[in-house]
């Protein structure tokens, strides 16, 4: 569905679209995919009839599958997609770096590390909220570290290399924790944490992750105007009345909350925060404030579409979400790198 929408968006490449139109198109696609996602799965389900049953308050096997399996899965895919799209756009604004993305620069990997420690260490069994909080702590650590290393006036290269180092460290530490974990299945579960999945998640996961995630959205979503000013440089922004320290804090905290709580329940899904903002940037006239919401919606579309695609491929065990997003995102990343190189020459 999103692939159908892409040529339409690309055709309008040169001139920015009317904001209301763009947002309604994205919102419509997101809603459509949401319904499609409810209808797709291993069990054949008559969606309309099942929804009708559920509305009547009937409790059947079909409504159980719809409400307890499909709905949490769909909601979680949308929530995480929105978080990643939003965080990608915000990070690119904060670090003023077009390649900043939670997965590429290691924020997601650190969030996964935090969640892995809380989950396999048994902390989240005692207090469920420990899971998203540990994910947020991991993400926060990464964002703060990255900002210290490559936040101000540093090159794209510095940021990406710092990301490589953070990713490598977080990945190794995650593997280490999983190896020490008492459970024999733990070691094989590194795939979930590095590639991400929403399969067989339940409403419990949404309950623990969504509130913190939405606080993160609020922090990121309200930073638009300040980000617009920041494109003119820190000094100009400050002279326009932007309180830089507050802005930084909002963006860092918002990213950590949105990405950390999501990764804690779905694992790390890569490249969404890169693809979504870059596809939309030309359509919003390169204006960060307008990019944020659009990119959030596009992130939701992307992850939902990936999750629907996964369920349509029925050969063998289910693919992880990150496999699909990386197959699309990694070539995209490469194209961006090449374009950047051309621009600097």
């Amino acid at each position: 569905m999103s692939t159908n929408a892409l040529p339409v968006l690309a055709a309008a490449n040169t001139a920015p679209m009317r904001p209301a139109l763009l947002l309604s198109v994205l919102g419509l696609v997101l809603m459509l995919l949401f319904v499609v996602s409810l209808g797709v799965g291993r069990a054949p389900l008559e969606l309309a009839a099942t929804i009708a049953q559920w509305m009547r308050g009937d409790s059947t096997l079909a409504t159980l599958i719809l409400i307890e399996l499909r709905l949490p899965r769909t909601l979680l895919a949308a929530l995480v997609g929105v978080s990643l799209g939003l965080a990608g756009a915000a990070l690119q604004g904060l670090l003023r770096n077009p390649l900043a993305e939670p997965g590429i620069i290691g924020v997601s990997a650190c969030a996964a590390l935090g969640a892995v420690i809380a989950f396999y260490g048994g902390l989240s069994a005692m207090a469920p909220l420990a899971l998203p909080l540990a994910g947020i702590a991991g993400a926060l650590l990464a964002v703060v570290l990255l900002y210290a290393l490559a936040g101000r006036e540093s090159s794209t290269l510095t940021l990406i290399l710092a990301g490589v180092a953070i990713n490598a460290f977080a990945g190794a530490a995650t593997a280490l924790v999983l190896n020490i974990a008492p459970n024999p299945f733990a070691v094989t579960e590194i795939v979930f944490w590095m590639m991400g999945s929403v399969a067989d998640r339940s409403m419990n996961h949404i309950q623990i992750a969504a509130p913190l995630m939405i606080v993160g959205w609020a922090l990121l979503g309200t930073s638009g105007r300040a980000l617009d000013a920041l494109t003119l440089g820190e000094d100009t922004a400050a002279s326009l009345g932007v309180r830089l320290a507050t802005l930084r804090l909002m963006l860092v905290l918002g990213t950590a909350l949105a990405v950390g709580s999501g990764v804690a329940v779905t694992g790390a899904v890569g490249f969404v925060g890169l693809v979504a903002p870059h596809l939309l940037r030309p359509l919003v006239g390169y204006q960060p404030s307008r990019l944020l919401i659009a990119s959030a919606l596009a992130g939701g579309v992307l992850v939902l579409a990936a999750d629907v695609a996964i369920r349509l491929v029925t050969i063998g065990p289910e693919l992880k979400l990150g496999v699909v997003t990386a197959l699309i995102g990694a070539p995209f990343f490469l194209v961006l790198v090449m374009r950047l190189r051309r621009e600097t020459i």
Partner: protein, 284 residues
């Protein structure tokens, strides 16, 4: 018995000229199922080492006996100094160690995976022959056969309840497995067989719920630490649909290896199958 080990046994018999004394005196096991067999069948004092897993009560039926025997972790360098005159290994496990032991001229007996109780009984007989304790083997086989024969015969197939084995990560067990034979003997139909799942395969939670088996069979041992693999077993959609009366827990050690606990597993399944409440069919 493999040709090699048969030849080795024959050679030993010839060289010593007294058939009774050919029984191996320094036995080492490299496989959890072989551990149980040697600890049950070998003459006292002849088992020099078993795997470290044998001491784990969650995995092994003979963990108490294994406490009295040294254990190893399956590395050739641990086995060779023990100078075994017979090593029992699984056909699919510790391959590098087996190759190395063979190269050093140590006789290795490879154990297949029994696909039915009959095959399991055959395995007990051949292993006891290799250990030189045929009488013990015959005794164990007779015990198992008698207890099995005492179980009531299963009812008409169409009235049999449908059961699904549900394991961590949403895996189930189907045709061509020991577990499937046990279900059949307990008078249960296996959902995995009807879904044409061979041996060990994935059964998505949605498919399981929609198939509505009358009985869920889960691992009985306590979960060790936390793992995502278990989450599907505790999914609200599943626990809401299946009350405790429709879930039976079987310690996985009971039906993983040839031994007397296979009968205990059939017994437990049979008992639960008979007590099943009327199937809760959904309104549609």
């Amino acid at each position: 018995m493999t040709k090699v080990s048969r030849a080795v046994v024959a050679l030993l018999v010839l060289s010593l000229a007294t058939p009774g004394s050919a029984a191996p005196q320094r036995i080492v096991s490299l496989n959890l199922c072989a551990d149980e067999l040697v600890l049950r069948l070998a003459a006292p004092g002849t088992v020099k080492s078993v795997t470290w897993l044998a001491r784990d009560p969650a995995l092994s039926n003979v963990s108490a006996i294994a406490q009295t025997v040294p254990v190893h972790r399956g590395l050739a360098e641990e086995i060779v100094p023990l100078a075994p005159d017979l090593v029992l290994a699984g056909a699919y496990t510790t391959r590098t160690t087996v190759v190395l032991l063979r190269r050093l001229g140590i006789p290795v007996f490879e154990l297949g995976v029994p696909k039915s109780i009959d095959e399991a009984l055959k395995q007990i007989t051949t292993v006891s022959a290799a250990l030189g304790t045929q009488t013990r083997g015959a005794q164990l086989v007779a015990d198992i056969a008698t207890r099995l024969a005492a179980l009531p015969v299963s009812t008409i197939a169409s009235q049999q309840p449908i059961a699904a084995v549900y394991q961590p990560n949403g895996f189930t067990i189907g045709e061509g497995s020991l577990v499937n034979d046990l279900l059949r003997r307990a008078g249960l139909r296996n959902l995995a067989v009807e879904r044409r799942i061979d041996n060990y395969g994935e059964l998505p939670l949605e498919s399981l719920l929609l198939a509505e088996p009358d009985l869920l069979i889960m691992n009985g041992e306590a979960e060790r630490g936390r793992a995502l693999a278990y989450e599907v077993l505790h999914h609200p959609a599943l626990t809401r649909r299946y009350s405790d009366a429709r879930v039976v827990s079987i310690p996985s050690a009971w039906w993983s290896c040839a031994g007397p606990y296979l009968v205990d597993a059939v017994q437990r399944l049979h008992q639960i199958a008979r007590q099943l409440p009327a199937p809760e069919r959904p309104q549609r």
